[in-house]
């Protein structure tokens, strides 16, 4: 057993009111992957911020390799040997991918060759690094032009390349699909064997068991315990996080249960929807009570379909009909007026309005639909937000506080709440469960199925095939920005994977 690499003792941190961390001990050993687990708002991200000097704790101390440290900033932590990927993608969208990876540590040309940054080396090293993670992109393009999943991979590449002693990853896999996760794990195993201590936060339990050696569980800012991974099975882990033995496993099931409620005219139907440089020829029909899953690999164009359907981007060709009426969608406001609801993929840039209160954030779309002059009565707002917060289990000390003070998962729940608040006839959800904990995810799935049973039509985009299969009535598959085909909801994992992989599958209408 190796001596602790990074040890934190009695960390207490208070934002306002209730402590976010309360006397937490945390130890990382060299050559281990240490999973940091807990429900949304348990304090994982806060602990990481304290460890890396972003927040200074009210009490407690830290030691790295036996000597006491007081990190004062990310830069300082990096110099000490702690490299971090924070929860939301924290990179600069205006810089190229390669620059983001090497910002602050660019390779320099020697003076005889003029000094300055060696762009060629920089780009080729970035390319190599990303290829190692099986991401093959133009590293000279701005980061902002890539979807979150790619950005997440870039952030990981950056952190990995800063060959530090401790590597901290806060929910790095929330947007990744299984293949990327596998590649990431391969890289992590390599680093582990080199003796790094790796801290890994995720809400996917199978990932925990796939890679970690040790698990620390937090609950409500307190340490629950630390276990070698062998000593804590699935059920015990959930019990430790939730604080009670979980009830019967979640039973969400859309397709395999009842048949779709109303066959009639589709709530939404798209014909030949296309946009240059984006997706091509998408045909969709979503009926009342139906959950249409959208599957596909990273960058396959799922998000772009959702954006076209919601009027966020203008389609070059094709038509969209809502309730049988053809409509022109040039602005999200129009889509909302037609009864569509949307939960965007990138909550940080496209969803959350940071300085507004949680309540305002939740009712924002509902309010916007009411027009410029009519303000929703305060009592009404309170009633709606209270109900949704309870329904989705949003854990906030005060719903009148700003949404920026919520943990990542709780912010995501607010985004779902915002979409639900309008009581749309069609709901488009792009990776709605990103960063939501196990219990919350099951709960949300159940809610969606229940809503569908009441007659709501849902377009559900997710990177997790399993999740899709669990709730979808039908699944449409995107491949290389073209619709590859549509499958029945009970087709089974293999069929979906087969269609996702380039194998030309028969196209069913």
């Amino acid at each position: 057993m190796s001596a602790p690499l990074l040890a934190a003792r009695g960390i207490t941190h208070v934002y306002t009111g209730k402590p976010a961390l309360d006397g937490v001990d945390f130890t990382v050993r060299a050559g281990e992957v240490h999973a940091l687990m807990g429900q949304n708002g348990a304090g994982k991200s806060t602990l990481i911020k304290v460890l890396t000097g972003v927040e200074s704790p009210r009490a407690g101390e830290m030691a790295l390799g036996g000597s006491r440290i007081v990190p004062t900033s990310t830069l300082h932590a990096q110099q000490l040997g702690i490299s971090t990927v924070y929860q939301e993608v924290n990179l600069c969208p205006n810089l190229s991918v390669a620059e983001n990876i090497f910002a602050g540590r660019q390779p320099m040309k020697p003076w005889p060759r003029g000094g300055g940054i060696d762009w060629r080396t920089l780009n080729s090293r970035a390319l190599g690094l990303l290829r190692g993670l099986d991401v093959d992109i133009d590293v000279r393009r701005e980061l902002g032009s890539y979807p979150v999943a790619i950005q997440q991979m870039v952030a990981i590449a950056r952190a990995i390349d800063i060959s530090a002693r401790v590597l901290i990853l806060d929910e790095p896999t929330s947007s990744l699909d299984s293949e990327e996760v596998e590649r990431l794990f391969a890289a992590l195993r390599r680093l582990r064997s080199q003796g790094l201590g790796i801290v890994f936060v995720t809400h996917f339990l199978d990932q925990v068991y796939a890679i970690s050696d040790r698990i620390t569980v937090l609950r409500n800012g307190k340490l629950v315990g630390e276990w070698p991974v062998e000593d804590l099975d699935h059920a015990a882990l959930i019990a430790a996080m939730v604080g009670r033995t979980p009830e019967a496993p979640p039973v969400a099931c859309g397709a395999t249960g009842d048949a779709p409620a109303a066959p009639g005219t589709p709530v939404l139907s798209a014909r030949g929807l296309a946009r240059r440089g984006s997706v091509n020829g998408v045909n969709l029909d979503v009926r009342r009570g139906e959950i249409l899953g959208v599957a596909g690999l990273l960058g396959s164009g799922r998000t772009e379909v959702a954006r076209l359907l919601f009027g966020l981007d203008r389609a070059d060709a094709g038509s969209v009909a809502v309730q049988g009426q053809e409509v022109v969608l040039h602005d999200p406001a129009q889509a909302i007026a037609h009864g569509l609801g949307f939960c965007p993929e990138e909550r940080k840039t496209e969803g959350v309005v940071e300085d507004l209160s949680i309540r305002d954030n939740i009712v924002l779309t509902l309010q916007a639909r009411a027009g410029l002059w009519r303000r929703l009565p305060a009592a009404h707002v309170r009633e709606i937000t209270d109900r949704l917060a309870k329904l989705l289990d949003i854990r906030a000390p005060d719903l009148d506080g700003t949404i920026g003070t919520l943990s990542g998962g709780n912010q995501q729940k607010c985004m779902i709440a915002r979409a639900l608040a309008t009581q749309p006839c069609l709901l488009i959800l792009d990776e709605p469960t990103r960063g939501i904990d196990v219990a919350g995810k099951a709960e949300i799935m159940n809610q969606l199925v229940a809503l569908a049973r009441e007659g709501l039509a849902i377009v559900f985009i997710s990177a997790e095939i399993e999740e899709l299969l669990r709730v979808s009535t039908r699944i449409t598959v995107m491949r290389d920005r073209v619709q590859a085909g549509t499958l029945a909801g009970d087709c089974g994992e293999e069929a979906v994977y087969a269609m996702i992989a380039a194998a030309p599958a028969p196209v069913s209408p």
Binding site: F310, T349, E350, V353, L372, L376
Partner: protein, 340 residues
């Protein structure tokens, strides 16, 4: 007490109080009021009166800034509105028997001036929203050309307004208080009411904080932003009327000169972030009062003109640092250290 210190307007209020106290110490008559000819007379009344145009302009500016914009053309719009009103009212010198004649009815002149100011604001908004220019450049165009337009209207002359009723706007008194100040207060109060009773305030903040998210949430940012620029222009127009009425003349070249800087300064002193989102109209009004009190302080202390700017800068530095939580924390730490 703690809640009071946390209140976001605490520091602007304290600053204003300190400035007034400084004046009162140096000049004991500073706080004195007098009832003269049916109205209040005194330094504080002057400050209110003088701050009115700035407060109006800064109110419009606050909203534009809150929605991630900027309007540096307000000074030019003040000049245009003043010029239009002056040229339309005009009148001629009449010695002795003050015969009140104006070229056009006064209400028409005022309406015309305000309509043109509104149009100027909408023009700015159209460039920003419709053409997609950066706000500073869009309004720079009007800032440069607008003063030229004003001079074109006046023919480069200072147009003196001989029509006595017009002087009421900038010199008159309502219920003993300067009419301009009452007008500004009313405008600010109404705007505040409008923003809090309708969802407009929420929309403006959302647009300012995260325009992308606001659009996805279904807020129609374009018409709102356009309206904000229009409103800003309109208020600059009102300020133009007050300024021209106050000196009974329109000076196209100098009216509202550098007003945009003062307005932005007032906005910042009031705690509004120039990056958009968070804003406070009352804060802005306080900011305008602080700036005017500062100017008056300079006059009443008898600061020599060469030192004016350094003095003003020193006070601004003190005000800013006081408002910075980091600075206050630093001071507290310094104060604790020797004791501990």
């Amino acid at each position: 007490m703690r809640a009071l210190v946390r209140w976001h307007l605490f520091w602007p209020c304290l600053t204003l109080a300190l400035l007034i106290a400084l004046n009162a110490v140096v000049n004991p008559g500073f706080l004195a009021f007098e009832w003269r000819d049916g109205h209040l007379y005194g330094n504080l009344v002057d400050i209110l009166n003088r701050a009115a145009p700035l407060a109006l302009v800064a109110t419009g500016m606050t909203l534009v800034i809150a929605a991630r914009g900027l309007d540096i053309s307000v000074g030019a719009v003040v000049a245009i509105s003043a010029a239009v009103a002056a040229v339309m009212i005009g009148g001629s010198l009449s010695l002795g028997d003050a015969e009140a004649v104006s070229r056009f009815p006064m209400w028409l002149a005022i309406l015309a001036a305000l309509a043109i100011a509104l149009a100027c604001g909408l023009w700015n908004g159209a460039l920003v929203v419709g053409v997609g220019m950066q706000p500073i450049i869009a309004t720079l165009i009007l800032m440069v050309a607008g003063r030229g337009v004003a001079q074109l209207v006046t023919g480069g002359q200072i147009i003196t307004i001989y029509y006595p009723p017009y002087a009421y706007l900038g010199n008159g008194f309502l219920a003993g208080l300067p009419f301009a100040a009452v007008l500004a207060a009313a405008v600010i109060a109404l705007t505040q009411l409008l923003l809090s009773r309708t969802p407009l305030g929420l929309y403006v903040r959302a647009i300012g904080i995260n325009p992308v998210a606001a659009r996805i949430a279904g807020i129609r940012a374009k018409p709102i932003t356009l309206a904000l620029y229009g409103f800003c222009g309109l208020l600059a127009g009102v300020a133009g009327l007050i300024v021209s009425s106050n000196v009974r003349s329109a000076d196209a070249n100098n009216a509202g000169q550098l007003l945009e800087l003062d307005a932005i300064l007032a906005v910042t002193l009031g705690g509004t972030a120039l990056t958009g989102g968070r804003f406070s109209l009352v804060g802005t009004a306080l900011g305008a009062l602080i700036i005017q009190t500062l100017t008056t302080t300079i006059y009443s202390l008898g600061v020599p003109p060469e030192v004016n700017l350094v003095f003003k800068a020193a006070l601004i530095f003190i005000v800013m640092l006081l408002q910075s939580p980091e600075f206050r924390a630093g001071i507290v730490r310094l104060a604790r250290q020797p004791g501990a």
